[in-house]
Point group: C2
Chain length 287, copies 2
């Protein structure tokens, strides 16, 4: 395994981790100041600051991306909605390109309306079919501009409202269906929070292999977890076997950054510099 203990060479900070404390420009400044060289910005934070400004700031600061969050949310109630989702995903691909991201992360979506608490139907098979079609269409465009797509399986507790792809196996089945030649145009984002519980995680990481392992997100699973979305833990505060999973990823050929993505009402209440410092410390010790 790579040695993470003495520097931050392989650390990336996902901008959601500090989203309630700072604007994106300030997050990038804080990372650069700490010597962190890689980040993953969220699209809404980029939009709030301005795409051109962020692209320039990244370049000036010498910051690279570990991914761009996010495309997806393909399912919709009608043809117009499906078309809007595809348009939006093409724009996300373009933005990822402009920011020189190595991949666009896809949170694929699920039952239309569910995120707002009002699902229009509960046919998850239909949602899954729309996801397959949506990725296929987006992939065609993404290939044309050489932007890899990374399907992120989400925890099954988010299956109704955020993503109907909930296991690495399912995500890799989609990859096999849409990119059977393993061209590198389609792969997966493995977030330990979403996948740690899966008894097939090790075998599916091996199945994915270097070609398909496009992103690796870290945080921790807390006992007790008080919220299904915004109660993720700092690495080392929970029960995820972080070193074991990194070992599996590196054994499969993954050599990219470890991206810290912590959605947490608790951590969002703490000063950004403290959180960042702790991310570095935990990256160097428990990851």
């Amino acid at each position: 395994m790579r040695d993470f203990s003495s520097d931050v060479a392989h650390l990336s900070i996902n901008s959601a981790t500090l989203r309630k404390q700072l604007g994106l420009p300030e997050i990038l400044e804080a990372c650069a100041r700490r010597g962190i060289r890689t980040v993953c910005p969220w699209r809404d934070q980029v939009a709030a600051a301005g795409l051109a400004r962020i692209a320039r700031q990244l370049k000036d600061a010498g910051l690279g991306l570990s991914g761009y969050c996010r495309g997806g949310f393909f399912p919709a109630v009608d043809a117009a909605g499906l078309a809007r989702a595809l348009d939006d995903n093409r724009r996300a691909v373009d933005e990822a390109k402009q920011l020189a991201a190595p991949c666009l992360v896809l949170v694929v979506g699920s039952l239309p309306g569910a995120l707002g608490g009002q699902p229009t139907h509960n046919d998850i098979s239909l949602a899954r079919a729309q996801v397959l079609a949506g990725i296929a269409a987006t992939l065609e465009y993404a290939r044309s501009v050489a932007m890899p797509l990374a399907i992120e399986p989400l925890h099954p507790m988010q299956a109704a409202d955020r993503a109907c792809v909930n296991t690495l196996e399912h995500a890799l089945d989609l990859c096999d269906a849409l990119d059977q030649d393993r061209t590198g145009a389609l792969g997966v984002a493995v977030d330990v929070y979403h996948t740690w519980w899966d008894p097939k995680l090790e075998s599916q990481i091996a199945r994915a292999g270097r070609d398909r392992l496009l992103a690796y997100h870290v945080c921790d699973w807390l006992l007790e977890t008080r919220d299904l979305v915004n109660d993720r833990g700092m690495m080392g505060d929970g029960i995820i076997e972080l070193k074991k999973i990194r070992q599996w990823l590196e054994a499969a050929g993954y050599a990219g950054p470890a991206e810290v993505e912590i959605f947490s009402e608790r951590w969002w209440q703490r000063p950004a510099e403290d959180v960042l410092e702790l991310c570095v410390a935990r990256y160097q010790t428990v990851l």
Copy 2:
């Protein structure tokens, strides 16, 4: 599919559904009064009322069981703890026998101490190995008294603290390992709340077949879900495709009761008779 619309012949009430309103004797009385002929009692509620008393009451009221909740929680930190768990499971088997249950439901446990918020380790592979050994040992005893064991895969959001078996596929792998001849001594409890999200649910139900499908629990998945344990929904209030899943089960040969098991701080606040009446109404319409 069987017609559920005109009576309660295939309805069972799990005693957890009314546990905060009534003691077990009163729950059994309420069910009998409503014409419900099948129940599934929890072990702690039986202990509180007295095993002999409950056995007598069931017999006098002509109530049958759809299962007995529950055995399991096999993992432990040391040999003494593992032995205590096995002793406890043997007692659970004996109680199930005395109550004439068709099966003992197993919630297998996971990281020792995690349920109290203080896990002693985070090696889920070790927990899974202890679960396999624990079921094997319990099965030997259970076979000797002809009490089938039903492994209940729990939702992955409960993987750390309640059960490290989280998919039907994993539960069936255990069945295949420990009862390859499909003798009926070991099977699964399929709870729609824990399994609805699984893209392999249909195929794994078919794989299970009649021999392995020992119990079927129903409730619903709410949007939004506010608690990882005690915010289950009444059937029809959420997004689970209840009819579709029942169809899969019946196509695979399942002919037993539909057992309503709702852990819910919301429903526990409502009068028991109202909740029971709604369980009947929803059983007859949305299931």
